[in-house]
């Protein structure tokens, strides 16, 4: 099974940012650095649910929870529930 962080990074690079040559790590700030806009986060959150097999209550997620891939995975662990 692919590493969730790698899967998310790949998704954000290829589906959200879509600029050649972009290199991300799990700790690269995304929204606060302007790499992605907050409107993309609905799609990123869906992907996060998919790669972690969790359902994440969106209403409990705050802006800072989604700024890096590491923070996203921590958020999934903190708030997520296994998908039925």
């Amino acid at each position: 099974m692919a590493d969730p962080a790698d899967e998310l990074i790949d998704y954000i690079c290829t589906q959200i940012i879509r600029r050649p040559g972009i290199k991300l790590t799990a700790d690269t700030p995304l929204v606060s650095s302007g790499l992605i806009d907050s409107f993309s986060l609905v799609d990123v959150l869906s992907k996060l649910e998919e790669v972690t097999a969790m359902r994440i209550p969106a209403s409990k997620v705050q802006p800072k929870d989604m700024d890096t891939v590491s923070l996203m995975l921590t958020t999934a662990e903190r708030l997520g529930k296994p998908r039925k």
Partner: protein, 569 residues
Amino acid sequence: MSPSHAPVSIPYATLTEALAAAPEAQPFVTMWFDDDDECTFSFGEFRQWSNSQAALFSSHGLGKGDTVILIMPQGVALMAAFAGAMLLGAVPAILAYPTFKVEPAKYRFGLKGVSANLNAKLVVVDDSFPLEFLESVSLSDQSKLIRVSAVPPATEDVAAPQFRCHQDDLAFIQHSAGTTGLQKGVALSHGSVLRQLVHLGERLKIQSSDRVYSWLPLYHDMGLIACFVLPMVYHLHVVMQSPTDWVMQPESMLYLISRYKCTLSWVPNFALQFLARRVKPQDRKEYNLSSLRALTNCSEPVRAEGMDAFGTAFSSCGLQPAALQSSYAMAENVFAVTQSDINHGPRRIWIDFSKYQSERIAVIAEPDSDSAICFVSSGKCLPNNEVRIVSEKAESLPDDHVGEILIRSDSMLDGYYNRADLTALSMRDGWYWSGDLGFLLAGELYVTGRKKDLIIVGGKNIYPQDLEEIACGHPAIHDGRAVAFGCYNPDLGTEEIVIVAEMEESAALANSSTIERAVRTAIVEELGVAPRAIYLKPPRWIIKSTAGKPARSATREKLLVEHPELRIS
């Protein structure tokens, strides 16, 4: 008629009286996050929480006439804080809570400006409110900021404050859903709100057995009035979820309506189309929408396509055709100005497009004629509500002429809070100038768009919604992700049409010229005008509002930055 289906009346002078009269054990609000995380509060439990919030706010010096800002997540704690403030005679204003998808800079700007204008004595945030936004709350020397828990108090009974409001007292401030600049605070009295609810209840034939479903934010009039204050006053049960949870799982709306047999709900037009597209045919059989008496489409111009898409997609789920309703509503009138016929749904008419476009008049045409376009009525005025249509020169126009919609009623705003300048601009001789365009026909109102968005090309009136709908009709373009606007060309002395549309898939951009040509041809065929430019962009290029709709002015600015050639000097 059985007693539980009896129509109900509201013999109260204030909202707090209505809350006090609610039956103790009657369920009031169910807040649903998922099936393992939901809670229901009876009116008695809700009153208890409200009393306890009132006691807390009072201990911080809040009293009659003081403004209190509430910035809390969608839920019962927020509702109890709102009611608790009113119990003291204070004036609550709910501001948007920062969800994960807010644009931080935009949120800070709005919060700073709106909170400065409200000049509140107390600002209430929940205990998880992000620190990084706290500094954007404008506080004066007399203001205080407190954090409250989202958990109901476990204390013994707290008595309700011994304060009596009067119907002319301000009840609360709700913010108009402006798309540009700062939102305006609409100050409303208890009397205005109750009169509106009496009229709306009469038109909707509210029954004690009704149950409301909502994902609408409580900082917006549709969520606040229709889905919180109306159930509170009529003592109805409301099933609620947060807007962000709904965005992630739109089908949860159908699940909750089915499970709780909800009868009333309100949604903006885009949500109908979104649900029809998003919920796959094989999944629809899980839902039963036969309980719905009125699913009211409002807050955007009502489009036949959205109603039809939803009606067709969910007719197999027991959805009654007459349940799809329409309304024209705005915060400045508390909420609804018009409502369609509860027994039959909104009327549809077909009018001659060329006369509509060039002469701004609605002449009835045969539905199947080439030049006919369909309009869906927003219904008739509520009792004691009047609509007048005026020309650019502020002259009253006869029926079937398109002009600006003016409103007069017994539930109008007392004024924009602390903004006498804006009040004077919008309220003249007792009429509210809405900035919306529309026409009256046989006593029904048809809303055609926003005055500021209208594109005038060589004397023809072109509505951006019509252009956007045609563009989105192309299979390669993402449904609902097109923006059209006018660019003035001084050489021609008129505006020209510019369209930007998002592709469903980036790969389709390889066929840009073919797609552009097809959209251009469709626009010329249907509207008789040729766009100056059509820009096709990859997915997620268009800027969306917090409600998920394309933000027309922000998208326009983004396009003008990327394509300076559009700025003709």
